[in-house]
Amino acid sequence: MKHTDLKRYPGFRLITWVCLTVLYAPMLVLAVYSFNSVRSITHWSGFTFDWYLKVFQNPSIQKATLNSLTIASTAAFTATLVALLAALALVMGKPFRGRTATLTFINFPIMVPEIIVGIASLLFFIAINFELGMQSILIAHTVFCIPFAFLPIYSRVKSIERYYSEAAQDLYASQLACFRLVIFPMILPGIVSGFLLAFIVSLDDFIITNMVAGPGSTTLPLTIYSMVRVGFTPEINALSTLLLLVSIILVSLVYLINRRSTPKT
C-alpha cells in the first residue's frame, strides 16, 4: 500500500515481542524444567511428573496451601464486602465534603510500599500484644486487599447511571427491591472481579506475610521462599508452575466475566 496506516510505527511489533518474551521466557523455562527428570537445572534429561507428585506429598506444602487458601478466601471475602459497602456509599450516597479524601484513604494501602506495611503491621501487633499467626496475616491481608477489591467494584458502580435506580423506583420498586433486582445484578461482575483480584493478591503476597506470620501460619509464598533460600530444586519449579497456573486461571476468569458482562453500546 502506498498510504501506510498512520497508526502504525515500524519496529513496535518487534519491541512488543521482545517484551512478551522477557515476560514469559523465565516463567516458561521454569515451568519446563519442572518436568526435568533429574535435579539439574542445567541439563534436560527426560520428562517426569515426579516433582509434582513430590509437591503433592509434601506435608508442609499441603499445610501451606491450606493456609494460603484459607487466608486468601477469608481476606478477599471480607475485603470485597467492605469495599462493596464503601463503593455504594461513595457513588450512590449523598455527596459530602471529604469524598475525595475518603476515596484516597481507601486506596491508601496500595500507595504504601509493602515493606512498610509489613513492618508497621508487625510493630503494631507486637505493641498491642496480638499473637502473630493466621489472624494477624488475615488482618494484614484484608487491609491491603480492600483497594484491590474496591477498584473494580467502584468503577462498576460508578458506571451505573443514576437513571437505572430512578427507573426502578419510577416502576414502583422500593429501595431494597431496587438494590436487589437492579443494582446488584448489574454490579455483580464488578464484585466477582473485585473478589478474584483480592484473592490473587492475597494468595501471592510474600513481603507482608513474611513480616506478620507466626508459627504454623506459613503460606505458600513463604514456603517457596524458604525452599529457594536453601537451594533450587525442580520441586520449587513444580510448585511455582502450579501457582502460576492458578493465577492465570483466575485472571482469565476475571477477564471473561468482564467481557461477557460489558454491554456493547
Partner: protein
C-alpha cells in the same frame, strides 16, 4: 426527603475503620518508634531521641568515637533511586511501544494481547523473581545456551549483581508501565493523527507533536507505578542481588532482623514514605494543573 440509600457514613465505616486501625495507626506507631532509642537485642527504649535520623547522615568514628559525616546510607538511598530510575526508564523504553502497539490492534485481537500483558502482572512477584534468577544463573539456560553456541566460554556473571537487580525490577514491574499507557493510547483520539497528517506533519512529527503530549498522563502514571514499588523493592534485591546489593527496602528489613535497630529501621521507613509522597504530590499537583488548564 432523603432519597439516598442507607446512611453513607454507616456504609463507609467498616472500610475506613479497618484501614485506620490496621494501617494508619501502625504507620503512626512506626513513626513513633523512629523517635525512640534501640534496645540491645531488638525492641525499643521509651526515650525520645533523634539518633535514628542523625544516624542517616552521621556515624560514630571507630577510633575517635566522634560523630562524623557518613554518606553510606545516603549512597544506598541514592543507589535505590538510581536502580529504580533505570528500571523505570527501561520499562518506558520497551513498554511505551508495546502499549502503543497493543492498543492499536484491531479490537478482536487487542484483548488477547492485553491479556498476555496482564497475566504476568498477576503472577506472584516472588515466583517471577525466582524464575528470573533461575534463568540468569551461571548454570542457567541463558549462560548454558551462550556457552553451547560458543559465544562465551565462561558463564557471564549476571546473577547477584546490580544489573540483575535492575533486570528483576524491570521484569517485575513492566506490566505496570504498559497498562496505563495502553489505557491512554486507547483513549487517544486517532483522528488527531489524521489531522496532523492532513496539516503536513510526517509520521514522526505526529509522534512528537501530537501523540507523545497526549499520552503524557499515561506515561507519567506508568512511570510512577514502576518507580514507586521499585524504590521500595525487597524481593528482587534480596534474591537477585545475593544479599549483597541492598536497596532501601532491604536495609529497612535488616534493621528489624539481623541488626536489631528498630528506631533506625523506622526512620528509614519514614524516609522512604516521604520520598514516595513527595513524588506523588509533585505529580498529582502537575496533573491537576494540567487538567485544570
Amino acid at each position: 426527603m432523603d432519597k439516598s440509600l442507607p446512611k453513607t457514613s454507616a456504609l463507609l465505616a467498616p472500610a475506613i475503620t479497618i484501614i485506620l486501625v490496621f494501617l494508619a495507626i501502625p504507620i503512626l506507631t512506626l513513626m513513633t518508634y523512629s523517635f525512640l532509642q534501640p534496645a540491645t537485642y531488638g525492641g525499643i527504649e521509651w526515650i525520645f531521641s533523634l539518633d535514628a535520623y542523625v544516624q542517616l547522615f552521621f556515624e560514630e568514628d571507630f577510633l575517635t568515637e566522634e560523630w562524623v559525616f557518613n554518606s553510606d546510607y545516603l549512597v544506598i538511598i541514592l543507589t535505590s533511586i538510581m536502580l529504580a530510575l533505570i528500571a523505570t526508564l527501561c520499562c518506558l523504553i520497551l513498554g511505551l511501544p508495546t502499549a502503543y502497539f497493543i492498543a492499536t490492534r484491531p479490537p478482536s485481537t487487542r484483548m488477547l494481547w492485553l491479556m498476555a500483558v496482564i497475566v504476568p502482572y498477576c503472577v506472584n512477584l516472588l515466583i517471577r523473581t525466582i524464575s528470573m534468577l533461575f534463568i540468569i544463573r551461571d548454570q542457567g539456560p541463558i549462560n548454558s545456551f551462550l556457552i553451547w553456541t560458543g559465544l562465551i566460554d565462561a558463564p557471564l556473571q549476571i546473577a547477584y549483581t546490580n544489573f540483575a537487580v535492575t533486570l528483576g525490577l524491570f521484569y517485575s514491574y513492566l506490566p505496570f508501565m504498559i497498562l496505563p499507557i495502553y489505557v491512554a493510547v486507547e483513549r487517544f483520539n486517532f483522528s488527531l493523527l489524521t489531522a496532523a497528517n492532513d496539516l503536513y506533519a510526517s509520521k514522526w512529527a505526529s509522534w512528537q507533536y501530537v501523540l507523545l503530549p497526549n499520552l503524557k498522563p499515561g506515561i507519567i502514571a506508568g512511570c510512577l507505578l514502576v518507580f514507586i514499588p521499585s524504590l521500595g523493592a525487597f524481593i528482587a534485591p534480596d534474591l537477585l542481588g545475593g544479599g549483597k546489593q541492598l536497596m532501601i527496602g532491604n536495609l529497612i528489613a535488616l534493621q528489624f532482623q539481623g541488626s536489631r535497630n528498630w528506631p533506625f529501621g523506622a526512620a528509614l521507613g519514614m524516609v522512604l514514605m516521604a520520598m514516595i509522597f513527595i513524588v506523588l504530590i509533585v505529580f498529582s499537583k502537575r496533573n491537576s494543573q494540567e487538567a485544570r488548564s
